[in-house]
Amino acid sequence: MENQFTNAAFTAHLAEHRLMGSRDKSSGAVFCPPRPIDPINHSYDMEWVEFKGTGRLEAYTVVYTAPSAMLAAGYDRKNPYCVGIVKLDEGPMISGLILGVDVAHPEAIKIGSTVKATFVDRVEAETPKTYLAFEPV
């Protein structure tokens, strides 16, 4: 089979501000990011599915010591950022930047709060890139 459930396809959808994953045609199980093979029943007959983008914050941190890519995006010790893991309403969990929260008071950020997907467009080395993020509803 030719695998269409690639990171390139996922990021092309992100560039269109769509959060897409895969669905196992036999069991209906959904995956985000998209998986080519269902790890439960090992089926590889999948189709694309679009997620609503709403979900629940499961875990988070506020990063003060940023990696190179985030330094380049303008984050550092004086401008820390929140990153977390969100459980989408459809079931899967995914990592994303968490915007619109008070990074100065990380203890006040609430696990369990409702968030929705938003898309961050950046230009890196003259190439446009889109990143998945979430913000409180």
Binding site: V63, T65, V83, I94, P106
Partner: protein
């Protein structure tokens, strides 16, 4: 599930390690040679290197850290072991633990009788952000790293899930760091082998010498809450919650059980082992536990025919302080959600019911990532033989456990070692 028994028994008969730390002018091979020679000298009845059948080397990323790939044959060359088969094993921070497992499997298979297993990493040549970037390649660079995650960030996120679920606080994790520094102060090989109180005194002395305001910390926790002395790296993980960037090497000698007495009257036997893999952190059903560690631990206990209660002491993968609390539950030492209470009550300290990281752990001893798994085995070898010097755990020790994690638990490998009398 893996087979619960080895085809033949395997014993540890020698162990050595370099000092862990930051060593300008020393490369992987230089550190590996130091650990190898100490291993040779540790063999009670001696070993002729000509008897060795193969070499396994745990290493995470000499390619990115040093610009040197293909290091297993180089380690064989510099230890004088060419043309023996030399194999590099890479599973991130679990590289060395998995190398130990591969060495055990090779001897158990009957293919080899005598195998050297080492681990090595040289991390301090790169600036901090490049070290962060290099470590990040152990995560999913397509779906985790673009979100902004770093390794301190992953464990910090697990800490928020754990705190939210069970009620621990950032101080719980600080107490783990204080305990591991207390242990590491007794380890001459440790990178930061000093108690937190000693570090506080040094800071005060330095301030007085420079004519600066003298910090007024009354307790270790006050020091650890000070944003200047102990800055946040990824909330709630602060500097003293994180293992350091380290250089170091460790080496052990594995032989078939029937040969053990030829090398020593005090062999240490492989009683059980387990290994499991997993996907990205966001792919797990729970974020307050590491499923691969639970599976690897269960496999190891089953193979050894014992329960967690029979483990006398453990070296666990405390790359971040929260990881030690989670490990203490994943390995069954304490019930889910109770590990933080046990840590706060001193159950995991030297004199507690379940001593964890008598060596100082990765936190105090240092974490040269591809060497750490073998470093843990070196500590268990010494403790079980009563050779751990000032940090020797008193009393009759029978079972010691090692728990080595790659990434956030994409790999976990557990070994149980036994001293028989």
């Amino acid at each position: 599930m893996s087979s619960p028994k080895l085809a033949r028994g395997v014993a540890l008969v020698g162990a050595g390690m370099s000092k862990f730390g930051s060593f300008k002018g020393k490369t992987s091979r230089d550190l590996f040679v130091e650990a190898f020679v100490e291993m040779l000298e540790s063999v009670d009845k001696g070993i002729d290197p000509k008897e060795i059948d193969a070499l396994y080397v745990g290493n995470y990323s000499s390619d990115l850290f040093e610009g040197q790939g293909h290091i297993a044959p180089i380690m064989a060359s510099w230890t004088g072991l060419n043309p023996l088969p030399a194999v590099r094993v890479e599973d991130a921070c679990a590289s060395a633990g998995v190398a130990v497992r591969e060495g055990i499997l090779a001897v158990a298979s009957g293919m080899y009788d005598i195998v050297v297993v080492g681990g090595v990493e040289k991390m301090t040549d790169l600036p901090t952000e490049k070290v962060t970037d290099t470590l990040a390649t152990a995560a999913d660079v397509q779906y985790e790293i673009p979100a902004g995650f770093t390794f301190p960030g992953f464990y910090a996120a697990m800490a928020t899930a754990y705190m939210n679920q069970y009620g621990a606080t950032p101080e719980t994790f600080m107490k783990v760091g204080i305990k591991n520094h207390n242990n590491g102060a007794l380890n001459e090989k440790a990178q930061f082998g000093a108690k937190i109180t000693t570090l506080m005194e040094a800071r005060r002395a330095s301030a007085i010498k420079k004519g600066l305001p003298v910090p007024e910390w009354e307790t270790e926790l006050e020091f650890l809450h000070d944003d200047k002395a102990n800055p946040v790296i990824a909330w709630p993980m602060r500097l003293y919650d994180c293992s350091p960037v380290s250089d170091g090497a460790a080496v052990v000698l594995l032989v078939s059980e029937d040969l053990a007495q030829r090398f020593t009257d005090k062999p240490v036997f492989v009683a059980g082992m387990g290994q499991a893999s997993d996907g990205a952190l966001h792919d797990r059903e729970v974020l307050s536990s590491i499923p691969s560690a639970r599976i690897a631990g269960e496999q190891a206990y089953k193979m050894a025919g014992i329960t967690a209660a029979e483990i006398d002491f453990a070296e666990v993968h405390d790359c971040f302080t929260v990881a030690e609390v989670i490990a203490s539950e994943d390995l069954g030492f304490f019930a889910r959600g109770k590990g933080w209470i046990a840590a706060e009550e001193g159950e995991t300290s030297r004199d507690g019911s379940k001593p964890i990281n008598l060596s100082g752990g990765l936190k105090s001893k240092g974490h040269p990532v591809g060497a750490s798994g073998v470093g843990q085995v070196v500590e268990v070898f010494k403790q079980l033989r009563g050779q751990a010097g000032p940090r020797q755990k008193a009393g009759q020790l029978k079972y010691g456990l090692t728990h080595n994690v790659g990434g956030t638990g994409q790999t976990c490998v557990v070994h149980i070692f036994e001293r028989r009398n």
